[in-house]
Chain length 333, copies 2
Amino acid sequence: MKYSTQDKLTIVGAAGMIGSNMAQTALMMKLTPNICLYDPFAPALEGVAEELFHCGFEGANITFTSDIEEALSGASYIISSGGAARKAGMTREDLLKGNAQIAMQLGKDIRTYCPDVKHVTVIFNPADITGLIVLLYSGLKPSQVSTLAALDSTRLQTELAKYFKVPTDKILNSRTYGGHGEQMAVFASTTTIDGTPLNELIGTEKMPRQDWDDLRQRVIQGGKHIIELRGRSSFQSPAYLSVEMIAAAMGGRPFRWPAGVYVSQGKYNHIMMAMETSISENGISYKEPAGTPAEQKDLEESYSHLCKLRDEVIAMEILPPVNRWNELNPHIR
Amino acid sequence: MKYSTQDKLTIVGAAGMIGSNMAQTALMMKLTPNICLYDPFAPALEGVAEELFHCGFEGANITFTSDIEEALSGASYIISSGGAARKAGMTREDLLKGNAQIAMQLGKDIRTYCPDVKHVTVIFNPADITGLIVLLYSGLKPSQVSTLAALDSTRLQTELAKYFKVPTDKILNSRTYGGHGEQMAVFASTTTIDGTPLNELIGTEKMPRQDWDDLRQRVIQGGKHIIELRGRSSFQSPAYLSVEMIAAAMGGRPFRWPAGVYVSQGKYNHIMMAMETSISENGISYKEPAGTPAEQKDLEESYSHLCKLRDEVIAMEILPPVNRWNELNPHIR
């Protein structure tokens, strides 16, 4: 079995649980033999590299470094899970500021060391914001930067499969858009359950309205639930899905879920958020999701929430005001 | 992409780091859609199952249970990483006894709930001993039970690649046999470095004898080194390699490394240890490795060490004396 490409894929944050899983996943998917692992925490990074060597992947050329210049030079693809985790005593703002600064530096480093990179997928939280910052500072085109948003949609699929007691494959086109977490917009109108539109089931005896509301809450709390059950944040699913995104960007199988994308047309502007997207060798493109008036309203609220987060980052002076974005990145209108 | 088989694969110990990686790996390899996750620790098990659901694997039929009868009923393949970890204050004997008892119960459960299982791979430590116990109590044929031994050989490959500064693919047929850890027999005579037999390099300026001895020590300490670097035991490489073993047992790609197998002919008898093996739909078979007189001596010492461990388990009355094994499992001569 051959590798899809020889292009260099750099995994930023490779010493962590998500990053190390990404590396294994990318090697198993045979995306490219040329995988570079980067992490500032050198001992754990070496430990991860050793583990991957010990898997004995044929033809693999795994390198690892704590030097960002070495890591990014020549990279065609980047996945970054390299944010900081929330620590005791840290406020939400502390976390936002810390990860926003990490994203700013990553964007600058991309501009300096690999301006010819083809695609970058950013997954550290809040991913819509960190992805936006990376986009602006890297100078890349909006089509070249995506963020992980699929987990909310796969969690919706999972909860619907459990509720209706059908295999997950019977739940088609489950979709959430906008932001992540509390403020996501859960769409019912796109989804079918074993061929029946979900909206025809909600409010009937097959799915009373209250059950649907409860289910949406479980989707929103999906990440928190993993922590409660497993004692650690989810890492397998974000790693796997983000590598699927990069596989699509390499020209592989189309990515089947929404992704976060830079949006600036119609009623949503100067924001990165989950839309109906496709990812191919030409990068990420999107269309605005259709939905019921109530769903559109949810999406507008989600957008407003993201704008507030973005404006916080502007107030922190990590991003310039929107009207000066074009100076930072001429691809941004 | 289709699954290789519809046969049920049960992962025992699926809530742990190794088991959860195995499940992801098996699904990514498309071995079978029918994966059953078993672990006595129900909350973490559910957390792992959720993570796998959230990956959105198409066509997957992932089930999970803390009921061993449900887990094993109908299973065609089993991988078990379900041993206990060494805890503070535990002696080596405590650990051996604990895991030997777990292996005994697993063997009995296999005999009760899935006597028609096709292949079982055991990886919890000491794997040669726990595998032997599972074999004896399950009543399976020796060809149906294998243990993970490949990590020592992949670590040898890794260290040689680093030493000679060549890609790992240039290191062919790196092999360790016998037991695992301190007592493994590291064979040099089987290995070539970019086409040159390793034995022609050892003791020359290209690899002074002391360097080879140091390298062997690094191989032996490979697992300990991962713990020092990463702060946790290796989990990605044992998970990945053991799933490769099961893939071979399902009739997939031949497994490329030594595995632990029940040995009872020639000079090695009534023991499970790493030999030159092949794994196919017909199970695991082996041949005794050829080697230099010094290597043969190392292997004999490794065998003696394993016999001592086995005899400890007999003294604990977890296994009957060797001459009564045939009563426990008529396939054992």
